[in-house]
């Protein structure tokens, strides 16, 4: 009964979404305020309906209702409750429900925080989001229904892929989707502005916080996915340029470009057309990501679905969304004004250059991801495009962009002078060069990439210091602290995000340059030394998990004669599907990770063991978190607050004006 309620709620949600997608947009076009007023209640109703459906599916999982096909396919009676709930997004159908649910959450948020928007704008935004929702609901109801029954019911479920039975997997997909789908708000804002023909600075300021919040979620989501791959896949890598990873990275690159371009549109009124295009691009890439991962067109670690019907639907949907929005763009964009003038060397010019680099990088990732698919489809042979390709293409594209991080924030709007910039940046430049040359020698190895990485990281840090010093010089106030407090939060946010990139670069550079690994055969009591740490293997014990049995190894870690840690890597056998998983043990630290992964049992109690010493690896994720934190700080800036923290208006503007005149 409960699954049928969920199914029915989805059907109702589709009806509401159709109403929400058609009436308000039409109303805005003809100026009918009654029709426009439909948008808000429709969006909220849709949210409640999809919430109901989501709750029903969650209930079916909690209740172990194996008469629901999806539940039977992705869970098992032995699976603990939290993983059963996470199994909602463990495969295709449920992921789409999550996608739609998150879309309605964003819609609901728009209805809450848009009281200051003109009615036409708000109804168009919600209308566009309603149309996107129509696509997804239609998709679920036609070819991918999570509530489909399995009659007779299966006595036992097939279990969730053991790779996904992990706390990281519980939160990674919702985070990622919050980001993906969050770009739908920026997209809806852009289309609403195109429809209304009012692409002005106000539009940019309104959509800025939404875009930044979505970008933060996406950043955290990608970082968590990468962290999950690091500790769960058991071979110590953190980014594989796997198509599924690329699928989330492309919207991130476009979104990053969008965040920067919106800044110019907001502050200087420039780049409007380009900003709109980027908003369309970021959301289209989010859809493309969903398509790539969910249609089965790729076969990789994360891609589960293989069903051409679904692929065709998403492809058609993609064509309608991207094609439609680009048509609208081509029709309306030429009418948009140009904004203020600026010279090539100015903050605008540098931000535009950063945009070109980010978009070129995004294009390369897209090319590398889709190229093998196209070659295969055209029967021109099967090739693999992997890390060596992406590394050799990505580094030269990103290096100038990273260099610009140091210059852009210091350049003046409109027109900057090269001699002046050079003078202000010479100390930062000197420090960076000196560090890049000296530090690798001090650490004992020199490679060009090591120097380049350190150069860029120190460059970003030191230019940030220059920036803060100049800022503080310009702000009024007594004393240093008071002046620091006078610097707006959006500036701190930007700085924090940029320093996050520097921290990230340090992590990547140090791991690439100094990580060490050993494949050893270890008997009980034997030791192996790596990176100054001695690992002593104290044998393997059998342990029972809730739905697996495991061989758990014990390793004592000794440094300078003192025991610093005990690590327990496992080799698990999940009983439901008889799958073997390697569960690595990681000892995390600020400056290094130790990583032990059990291989195979050899004769007479010995095991093959892989040991890693990974310096600075946690800086990679730390950097991503700093970037996201920077976004949060920027959004909390005072300039957005009047728009965000306002009580809904109850008094008509005229009456209020009158009361103010009396007062």
């Amino acid at each position: 009964m409960i699954p049928e309620i969920g199914h029915f709620a989805l059907i109702l949600a589709l009806c509401v979404a159709l109403v929400q997608g058609i009436l308000p947009i039409y109303g805005a076009a003809v100026g009918n305020s009654a029709l426009m007023a439909v948008a808000k209640p429709a969006a909220r109703t849709q949210f409640l309906l999809v919430l109901t459906a989501f709750g029903c599916l969650a209930y079916a999982f909690a209740d172990k209702d194996f008469s629901v096909l999806y539940v039977a396919a992705t869970s098992n009676s032995q699976l603990p409750l939290h993983y059963r709930l996470a199994a909602i997004w463990g495969a295709h159908e449920g992921s789409l429900l999550l996608w739609t649910f998150i879309l309605t959450i964003w819609m609901f948020a728009v209805t809450l925080f848009s009281t200051h928007l003109p009615d036409t704008m708000r109804s168009r935004i919600l209308g566009v989001m309603g149309l996107v929702s129509v696509g997804f609901l239609l998709f679920m109801l036609s070819v991918s229904n999570p509530f489909e029954r399995l009659i007779p019911a299966a006595p036992e479920g097939r279990d969730l892929n053991p790779l996904l039975q992990d706390p990281g997997m519980v939160i990674h997909p919702p985070m990622l989707y919050m980001g993906y789908v969050g770009f739908s708000v920026a997209f809806a804002f852009a289309l609403a502005a195109l429809l209304g023909g009012n692409l002005d600075a106000a539009w940019a300021r309104w959509s800025r916080p939404w875009t930044t919040v979505a970008w933060c979620f996406l950043t955290v989501g990608i970082a968590m996915g990468s962290g999950w791959a690091y500790y769960e896949l058991g071979w110590g890598g953190w980014w594989f340029w796997d198509p599924v990873e690329n699928a989330s990275f492309m919207p991130w690159l476009a979104g990053t470009a969008l965040v920067h371009s919106l800044a110019v549109t907001d502050k200087r009124g420039g780049f409007k057309v380009w900003t709109v295009l980027l908003a369309i691009m970021a959301f289209s890439l989010s859809l493309l990501g969903t398509f790539l991962v969910r249609s089965g067109v790729l076969t990789s670690v994360h891609a589960f679905a293989t069903d051409p019907k679904r692929g065709m639907f998403i492809l058609a949907f993609l064509a309608v969304v991207i094609g439609g929005s680009l048509l609208l763009y081509a029709w309306r964009a030429p009418r948009v004004g140009l904004g203020g003038s600026f010279s090539v060397l100015s903050r605008e010019g540098l931000l535009l250059a950063n945009n070109v680099l980010l978009v070129a990088a995004m294009g390369s990732v897209l090319l590398g991801t889709l190229y093998p698919l196209f070659l295969d489809a055209l029967d021109l042979g099967k090739i693999s495009v992997g890390p060596p390709y992406f590394d050799s293409v990505f580094v030269p594209l990103m290096t100038p962009a990273l260099f610009l991080i140091g210059v852009g924030p210091l350049a003046q709007w409109k027109q900057a002078a090269l001699p002046d910039l050079a003078k202000r940046l010479r100390w930062a430049f000197g420090v960076s060069i000196a560090t890049a040359v000296a530090l690798p020698f001090a650490l004992g190895t020199w490679t060009p990439l090591l120097s380049l990485g350190l150069l860029l990281a120190v460059w970003i840090f030191s230019t940030a210091v220059v920036g803060v010093r100049e800022r503080v010089g310009h702000v009024a106030g007594d004393g240093y602290v008071a002046r620091l407090a006078g610097v707006p939060r959006s500036y701190w946010g930007m700085l924090l995000a940029h320093c996050g990139i520097a921290v990230f670069i340090v992590g990547v550079t140090m791991v690439k340059g100094f990580e060490t690994e050993q494949d050893v055969r270890m008997n009980v009591g034997e030791t192996a030394t790596i990176g100054g740490y001695t690992f002593r293997f104290d044998g393997v014990q059998d342990v029972m998990g809730p739905n697996y049995t495991a061989a758990r190894g014990t390793f004592h870690i000794i440094k300078d004669g003192r025991e610093t840690a005990v690590m327990y890597p496992e080799k698990r056998r999940y009983t439901a599907q008889n799958q073997v998983m390697t569960e690595a043990a990681i000892d995390t630290g600020f400056l290094r990770d130790l990583y032990v992964s059990l291989g195979e049992p050899l004769d007479d109690g010995a095991w093959s063991v892989r040991l890693y010493h990974k310096p600075f690896i946690d800086w990679i994720w730390g950097g991503c978190l700093l970037m996201a934190l920077g976004g949060v700080v920027a959004v909390s800036d005072r300039r957005y607050r009047p728009a965000w923290r306002r009580e809904p208006q109850t008094v008509p503007a005229g009456a209020r004006l009158a009361s103010r005149q009396i007062a």
């Binding site: 100026g31 426009m36 003109p118 009615d119 036409t120 002005d200 600075a201 106000a202 300021r205 896949l233 071979w235 594989f240 796997d242 200087r268 076969t299 990789s300 670690v301 904004g339 203020g340 003038s341 090539v344 010019g349 535009l352 250059a353 070109v356 680099l357 978009v359 070129a360 294009g363 390369s364 090319l367 190229y371 021109l380 042979g381 099967k382 090739i383 693999s384 495009v385 992997g386 890390p387 060596p388 390709y389 050799s392 494949d519 050893v520 055969r521 008997n523 009980v524 009591g525 034997e526 030791t527 030394t529 390697t582 291989g599 093959s608 009047p642 728009a643 306002r646 208006q649 503007a653």
Partner: protein, 154 residues
Amino acid sequence: MIWLALIALLLFTPSAWAGEARPLGDDPAVEERLKHLAVELRCLVCQNQTLADSNAPLAEDLRREVREMIVKNMSDKEIIDFLVSRYGDFVLYRPPLKSTTTLLWVGPFVLLVGGGIALVVALKRRGRKVADAAITEEEHRRVEQLLSEGVKRS
């Protein structure tokens, strides 16, 4: 006394002195070269894993074969040519440059150069068109009004 006994036990338990673990491979130099090669090769039965990372039995076999070729003193190029002749380009994570992959290798730099040129041209054209009227005072006022007053337009 008990402590002394325990320490003595620890010191003289054979396992505590069992010594250094042996590397899996016999010759570290061979292993080093194997790793260098294997990170750029694809495990053919895995979904998307390098030969170095994979634990699949076939990857194990292939690693053994590559190890044997290294021991036979074949050059990297000879080994890769052999693998390509047997498995095709699919085995290489760094696609070779040939007619079908030209676009793949040239594309990113075309994008970059094209983007750069487009940027400069667009800025030049724009510079000619735009009179210096960034955001007018009037517009500024309207934005501030919209954002702070929440005036509803319809």
